[in-house]
Structure formats: C-alpha cells, structure tokens
Amino acid sequence: MSDPVSGISRADVAHLADLARISLSDEELDHLASELPAILEHVRVVQDAAGDDVEPMSHPLPISNVFRDDEVRESLSAEDALAAAPASEQQRFLVPRILGDEQ
C-alpha cells in the first residue's frame, strides 16, 4: 500500500475491501478512492499530537479479566440459536462450501 503520508489509491481501497469481505462495485471503489484521502488528511493530525512518552489508551477504564463461578446455567436452546439462520440442517448452521477448487 502507499505510504501513510501520500494517502490511499483506488487499488488500496480494492485491497482493503477484499480484506473486509465486501465486494464493492467499481462505482463504489471510485467513490471511496476519491473520498478517503480527504478523511485521512484530516485524521493525520494525530500523528504529531502526542510525544513518544505518552501511553496509548485503549479503554476508559482499567480492564481486568472477569470470571464467574463454573456453574451450569440456562443458555440459548439450539432451536433459538438457529431460528434466524439463513439455512440450517440437523441442529447445525448450513453454510456454503468453504474450500476452493485448488484446496
């Protein structure tokens, strides 16, 4: 991909769309490729805003792991969990093939 200073090309957008699993149309790619550079230009100020000594903050609160007692309790039934599935079979999600011809 292009370097962070010079922005983002149409090919970059196509690659990102592929990574994000969205099959964008040519029109959408053109549009985003024209729009994203301005947004990136705007957000780039963060690169000079903080010195190396500033710790990054991922979250407003200190995060610690939360455990519960290992006890059996109610959960969704298989029927409920599958109720909104696009397709299901024998209490399982039915999905399209996951391997390609070459695999």
Binding site: M1, P4, I8, D12, V13, L16, A17, D18, L19, A20, R21, I22, S23, L24, S25, E28, H31, L32, E35, L36, A38, I39, L40, H42, V43, R44, V45, V46, Q47, A49, A50, V54, E55, P56, M57, S58, H59, P60, L61, I63, N65, V66, R68, L76, D80, A81, A83, A84, A85, P86, A87, F93, V95, P96, R97, I98, L99, G100
Partner: protein, 502 residues
Amino acid sequence: MTDLIRATAEELSRRLAAGEVTSVELTQAYVDRISAVDGEVHAFLHVDADGALATAADVDARRAAGEELHPLAGVPVAVKDVITTRGVPTTAGSRILEGWVPPYDATVTTRLRAAGLPILGKTNMDEFAMGSSTEHSGYGPTRNPWDTGRIPGGSGGGSAAAVAAFEAPLAVGTDTGGSIRQPGAMTGTVGVKPTYGGVSRYGLIALASSLDQAGPVTRSVLDAALLHEVIAGHDPCDSTSIDQPVPPVVEAARRADVQGLRIGVVRELGGEGFDPDVSARFDESLALLEGAGAEIVEVSCPSFVNALAAYYLILPSEASSNLAKFDAMRYGLRVAPDGVDAPSAEQVMAASRDAGFGDEVKRRIILGTYALSSGYYEAYYGSAQKVRTLIAQDFAAAFEQADVLASPTSPTTAFPFGDKLDDPLAMYAQDVATIPANLAGVPGLSLPSGLASDGLPTGFQLLAPAMADDRLYNAGAALERLLEEKWGGTILAQAPALEEAR
C-alpha cells in the same frame, strides 16, 4: 388525552399511582399518537402495540392487587433499535439485519421489563449508529418534529423525535460520540450519556465497544434521572460494567441547586465554528446559572482539538472489527453473488455485506481496516490512542478547577436533509463537542437552552467526572428550572403542532 401524552413521566407515574389513569389507557394513548403522527415523523421502525398493551394490562392487574411496583411501572418507553428485544425485531437500522428477531433481551431491556415499563417499539437510527442525522438509516430518515424538512440529529434521531413528538414519554438511546446528546439538542429534548460502564452493554449491537454507552432520552431532566436509575447498575454479563452503586441521580435532579458549584467553560468547545445563536443561548444559560449562585470559570483542554481526528480512527477501527460478525452464516442477510456457480462461503459473505451494508458503514469499515493494517497501525490507531490519553488528562486537569464542565452540545441547529450527506467531514464535525466525553468515558448531559433565530432548538451540554453523573442532573435540573421560568413553560410547548393523520 392531549394533556396525558404531553405530561412528564414523573407526572404520569404519580397519576398511575393515584389511580387517575391506567397503564392500558396511557399506553393506548401513545399507540394512538404514534398512529397519528409517525407516518410523518418516522421515529419508529417497529411498533409493538400488542406487547406494550400486554405489559400495561399486567401492571394494572398487579397494581389493583396491591403489589408494590417500581415508580415508573406502567409508563411506556421506546427503545433504540440497536438494543436487542426478545421476540421483537431488531435491525440497528441496517438492511443486513432486516427482519431479525433476537432470541434474547439486552440487560437494558431486561431491566425495563422488570420495572414494568411497556415497550412501545423500536426507534429509527443511522445504520449501526454511524451518523449524525438518521439519513444513514437503511429504512429512510426520521424527520425533526420542529421542522419535518430537517434532520432530528443522529444516530439516535428516532428516540429523540419520538419523545419530542409526544409519541413516547421516555426513550432509551445509545451514545458512541454524541448519538444521544446531539439529537437531544436538535429536537429540544434531554439526553444523557452515563459514565462508561455505568449501564450494561450486554445486548447492545456494538459499534465501538470502548465508546458505546446507553442512556435516557426524555422531556425533562428529572425524567432522565428516573430512567437512568432503571437501566444503570452492575451487570455480570458485561466485563466493563462498573461494580459500584449507581450515583444518586434522582436525588440530584430533585435538588437542582448550583449555589457554590464551579462550572468550567471549555475554551476549545466554543467560538469559531459554532453558530452565533448557539453561542448566544449558551452564554445566556451560563448567566442564569451564575445568577443562581454558580461560579463560572474558564478551563482549557488543549488536546480536545484533536478529539475528532482520534475518534474517526478509533471508531472505524473498532467498528470494522465488531461488524465482522455479519458474515451471512448464522443470522442476517445472505445473498449469492451474481453469475457464480456454487459460490464459496467467502464469496457469499462479500456479496451479502455489499448488499446489506449502506455507504457510511462501508466507508467506516474500509477506513478502520486501513487504520488497523500492518504498517499503518502505529501511525493511525496507535497515535489516536495516545491522543485519547491526552484528552483524559485534559479532563482530569479541568475537573481540578471545576465541578462540572459546560459547552454547547452541537455547533449548529438542525440542518435540512441532504445538507451534509455528500461531505462526511462536515457531518462528522456535528459531534466535535460531544466526542471528548466518549473518548475519556466521562458522563455528559444535553438539555435545551432555547431557540435560535431560525426557530429551532439549541443544546447546552454538561460534563462531569466518571461516576459523578449526579452532578449533571443537579446542574441540569437547576438550569432547566431557570430557563422554564424565563420561557413560561417547556421548550416543547413552543414547538409547532404536527398534523395528525386520521
């Protein structure tokens, strides 16, 4: 019934307790109001009249049997469509979830049900809460009850418009960068984003997990406090839920005393870029508070100028990750790509996400994917996280000088549809004053401060330290009382009447 639907939730609660009205009568009055005006306003994506009336009948029966009930039992509520409701469709404003009926309740929903609030339905929003106008809803925009040619704010424009149009006395919203507070400012209503971790996120369809927070949308500060108490509190189902008592928000809203309170005006959240009328109403509100004994001080939060930029890296990054779950495999839309025989799961996924997501969602997923890419992570996401630290430090320093901070909620009044749709950066700038609170996790409240010369409401924002939400309600209720004395009534009494369909 007009006086009934225009009453505050607190007043309705008293009338229900006194037996002057039943919950079924009240709920039916709101269902009728929705039928009469929602064709125009489009605040609701789904109305659950049967479910609401069943809850109302149950509450009435329990009241008749002498059971002790929650004060808000029987007072109807509307819920933003990003919060799951078992058995009632939940779409988050997205076509990818069209017709999805969740198999479980969000904790917020569970608490509303436990307190006996009939749920009128689900309110419209920008798709996955990405937007400031509801124009990004997959189901068409909500119209501002003050002027139906204008936006009601967003993402929670549906909840705000429902309350402003008297289609519900109470509503729940969610706020990731201002989605409760900015619509409050646009519609002359009250909206509160509680402290991050104050209200459980379990069952909220996540936009940005480190920023999202649900909160009340109402017509008065006291009503917001009453609803806040219902939905807040520790929840073991949310690992970021704070295990501490809920701040005494209702008591604070009833106190409404700013004598000796230090109110810090944030220099960076005003002036240039803010409409003169918005600034004028803000200054007048400050003068009222000062007259009531508050001490006004100026504070500086220099890193707030970078908040918008940091937010538009952190939010897309978290959103691109959160929205990866819409993969067309377990629930939601599944479409096959055109012209492909026996498509693979990956091809189906990509085609479904293209068909189901709208433009703004795609824009932010691509931006987030970029910001998180190898080689760019440090330069973008990493740098934004450092700015976040600086913003939290600015808040900490400011709260040494002031008990609460104040600013206009939004730089403008409600704008006409289409005004900012082709300019994402102009749309994003709507949230310039609300975003810092989300980045730092502190609570914020917006209440109406008056009308601009265009006749549209302006908003006044208060901010407080984490878990000091009660300070917002104390100062907010004081200002509300002072303003209503000046106006001779509520701001919504000044709104033009909506035409009722027959």
